[in-house]
Symmetry: C2
Subunit: 378 residues, 2 copies
């Protein structure tokens, strides 16, 4: 792999990640294909929108269809018809949030499958083995994702456990194939986060991710922590903010120096009629759109906005039609990809502040300050 | 409009219907867009598959989003982004099958909307008015669709009522815009069907449809009746078999001289994992496909068969993923459009019997005889 920083604007970076299956221009947003499909989307559409890498969920896929089914296709790429790079999470987050009747041991977690009640084990070695069978271009370490709120003592135990598992993941992964990213944990406690990052740096990874954020903590605290950690993360490696976020979150995290993002919001919200436009959110289910022959977002070039009216989208939503989920998912992902394109271009031209100001002005919002808190967030 | 018969093979015809919004090569299958969307499909995909006309349901659309919403878009074409010809049914079939608490009067039917319980009236004049607001290229007369089984006396009353309404629809429609087709009713009673057809011919329509078939009567009786009526329908007008059917039904009805067809089967079955292939039906939900890396139908050129395995389709179906409905609807409609293309070409080359024989042989079925029953089916 190669990771080249091409330009900077403040803490923000414009970079290029080159992997064996393709190039990812960063800052980049990865659409989420939980079950080996980005919901309601065809993979050609994702590529057409400019997505260069997608995320798939190890936890879901090992339970269904099962690792061996995907391995029989030579990995996820042929299985889901996405020839480009794929990042897989390790399953850690879902084991702790979705697995029933969990038993945590030093070796990993024994849990019951929420699909069929089977007893399943996932730990550092197995998470790496499964991700290799999925043929992940970027694998993630198996971590204990600290929930919110927790006490400092609980956050410390969880962070130390993640660090111990990170060592084992690094050993299990060896020299690949594919990259392996470490995940910084430690809840909302800056010194625990710093300790986690230092431990990961000592082990050495191809990239570093921030996990366990956007799990309920106040937004300002999250962004302060992101800014605080981003400046401590190595400049020559990709920085990945997991599971984040809204368009505002992406703008702010990019301004703070993060490179990679994934989130279910654009697709999940699309299916619930929560649509992102240049002027803010449109909730298409609202009866005010019943007769509205205007396009969803007249500044948007996508087919949903070019070929259909708000009234039609409103009708599809009310009628529960699959085409509604399609058109709206396409639009929201188009919005996200265009946002990332705009951010990349603004960093290149050195006017990221201007881009952010225009972004907020169109939504009648003010630009929030980037707080540089060298002593850590409050 | 123009309707030119280009070639014949036995009773079968290869014709071309030219409408102001486009040309329809017949025999043709119309995908069904009940709620102004062919479920799970984009209109560009329909056009790409070779569909030249779609059907929309007056009953559903007048209840939701409401006629005035579609009229505000200038009709269905812009509303649903389908620039080609649209045939609308009259709502008669659904009023009788879906409308609650119906009161039938000589002027039409008063019923309760199954969506919100509103009292709604539909009769011949109103059905024409609504179809005009939808900007239908082909409108259908408002008819009383005879169920199965019924007594001959009931079928006669229903048929005579349909005929009386057909007179009023013809008057309300005047000279258009758009075409108006009459609908032959009369249940499974050949002499009632003949009386219905004679009455419609006397009124005079742009095309003639067979309604109230494939509603539960034995398949052989249906096909005998279709053959019996097709040879009595005017050769110089399109003949439309409403709501039919399976691939076998289409082959047999084309062999008997019918030109136009519509049916929800390819899309509805697709969503239930019931997939049409050159070798017969594949029920993709079956666990035998869990590990099957082969394409759904290796003889099919569609992206579903080109880019995905049976195991992936099985997985999407089990996981309830929207992409499953998309890929499978696309495939089934591709199968139907290719079948119609094959039938058209076989009539042109004069080898319809050979085409039918090959169709059945690939499915390990024998070709059923076309019974020519000049005295009417038993």
């Amino acid at each position: 792999m190669r990771f080249e920083v091409l330009a900077c604007a403040g803490a923000a970076r414009r970079a290029r990640l080159t992997l064996s299956r393709g190039r990812v221009e960063t800052p980049a947003f990865l659409p989420v294909g939980t079950q080996a499909t980005v919901k309601a989307m065809a993979t050609e559409e994702l590529a057409g929108l400019g997505a260069e890498m997608v995320l798939c969920n190890t936890f879901h896929l090992m339970l269904r269809p099962g690792t061996e089914v995907i391995a029989a296709h030579g990995g996820l790429h042929r299985f889901m018809n996405w020839p480009g790079p794929i990042l897989t999470d390790s399953g850690g987050y879902q084991v702790f949030s979705l697995g029933a009747l969990r038993t945590i041991t030093p070796d990993g977690v024994l849990f019951r499958s929420p699909i069929n009640g089977d007893r399943v084990f996932l730990g550092p070695e197995r998470a790496i083995k499964v991700q290799r069978a999925l043929a992940a271009d970027i694998a993630m370490v198996f971590d204990d994702c600290t929930p919110y709120p927790v006490t400092e003592a609980e956050a410390r135990i969880s962070m130390e456990r993640s660090l111990a598992w990170a060592v084992r993941c690094r050993a299990a992964h060896g020299s690949g194939p594919g990259l392996l990213f470490g995940i910084v944990q430690g809840g909302v406690f800056p010194h625990l986060r710093e300790r986690s990052l230092a431990g990961l740096l000592q082990i050495g990874f191809d990239g570093y991710a921030l996990g366990g954020l956007s799990v309920g903590e106040p937004k300002a605290d999250m962004l302060d922590l992101v800014g605080h950690l981003a400046e401590r993360m190595p400049a020559e490696r990709p920085r990945y903010l997991m599971g984040v976020g809204t368009p505002e979150d992406l703008v702010e995290a990019v301004r703070r120096g993060m490179d990679l993002f994934d989130c279910v919001l654009p697709t999940r919200n699309a299916r619930n009629g929560h649509l992102y436009t240049s002027r803010g959110v449109v909730r298409i289910r609202n009866s005010r759109y019943r007769n509205d022959t205007a396009p969803l977002d007249e500044d948007c070039p996508c087919p949903t906005c070019r070929d259909y009216s708000r009234a039609y989208l409103h009708h599809l939503d009310r009628a529960g039609e699959i085409l509604g989920a399609r058109l709206q998912s396409y639009h929201n992902l188009c919005y996200y990809q265009n946002l990332m394109r705009g951010l990349r271009s603004a960093i290149e031209t050195g006017d990221l502040d201007g881009y952010a100001a225009a972004f907020y002005a169109r939504r009648s919002q003010g630009t929030p300050p980037v707080r540089l808190c060298h002593n850590g967030p409050p």
